[in-house]
Subunit: 214 residues, 2 copies
Amino acid sequence: MRRTNIPDAAIRRLPVYLRVVSDLAAADVPIVSSAELAEKTGLSPEQIRKDLAYFGAFGTRGVGYDTAMLSRRIARILGLHRGVKAALVGFGHLGYALARYSLTQHKDIVIAAIFDVDPEKVGQEILGVRVQHVSEMVETCRQQGVKIGIITVPASSAQQTAELLKAGGVEAILNFAPAKLNVDGVFVQNIDLTIELQSLAYYTSASEDDTAEE
Amino acid sequence: MRRTNIPDAAIRRLPVYLRVVSDLAAADVPIVSSAELAEKTGLSPEQIRKDLAYFGAFGTRGVGYDTAMLSRRIARILGLHRGVKAALVGFGHLGYALARYSLTQHKDIVIAAIFDVDPEKVGQEILGVRVQHVSEMVETCRQQGVKIGIITVPASSAQQTAELLKAGGVEAILNFAPAKLNVDGVFVQNIDLTIELQSLAYYTSASEDDTAEE
DNA sequence: CACTGTGAATTGATTCACAGCT
DNA sequence: AGCTGTGAATCAATTCACAGTG
């Protein structure tokens, strides 16, 4: 079984490399060194070399990395060469913003279906994708071969949504609901605005005085 | 200087504890053990005990943690007892969704100001907060004592926005723009939808075949 | 000669195991 | 008796330092 030794942290850095390297390739810069990548990403050159080396020897010693080739290789490692399909569940304000952003910015990961429970939202259309009722989720996901789910429903229905996505064949979930999801065999990544903001507060001078006791 | 030994990862878990513990307190559950917290958060009991112990001995041996007291203590550690002020820059679809979510859900971190460059957006109002022009950012942030900035502008103006926020006295930034920010002395947390989705793709069966070489 | 690729050393975070209270 | 608090041990990730190569 592959991917066993590779740190998750390294995987999460690959898209960063992909962005920088494909920008360089698009700007006709043919070669880039790990030192240059380090500068552009804020990471260390060794870390970049090590991350890339997990997947093979992509560079040329004494020279650097071929930007066009590296960009293709990273896309392939991530599986993006296939065109991955995603489903968005929850067409509230956040869901709307994400759908819009994703459909206009990404080619490689496409929102192929959108679901909501609200009858007012079902039937609406955004950039060519029609909002379907949640009851159609399992079947549509299966038919379309959806592999990624994006959850922007309220916390109270997040678990249920995750289970339906799993039933529909989804293998990875991006969860914006402030709730812990319990679905095994599915890779879950959480993004929780409250957690981000509250932990940021810690790094602020507002948290510095523990002196004054009530 | 405090907070030097405490892992960032532990800080990021505090809001999770806060949520669970304050829910319990609100439900009149007076005491909770680290084992129960572990079950509700998906973390290990040892880790929870260690995280809390970084900040003092909050529990009672043989008993557990007093939920009301612990919730107050965590809020204080994070600095939330003060009511931290945040500024949102970029009132596009995402900015709108975040403003709406944050203003309705949070009491402890309040979006006190919103900025945009678009003259059409300036003057609009959401839940009592009026959108101002970016040129007013530095002064307004200083006046209001804004400590946290939320960036939802396009990547091309993210760096400039970060510098203005810093000039306005902001000490921590939540950056949704797909760009590396270079502002020292300011704590930056990035949330990048593209990175999240692309790294999720790796954990999907779409990425499994490296067999077919072109 | 310059820059990659990588074992070895280091640093950091998590888990273990048990002593210490109540 | 039960559960916290914590040094010690383990595990994982990062950084170092240099050998390998176009």
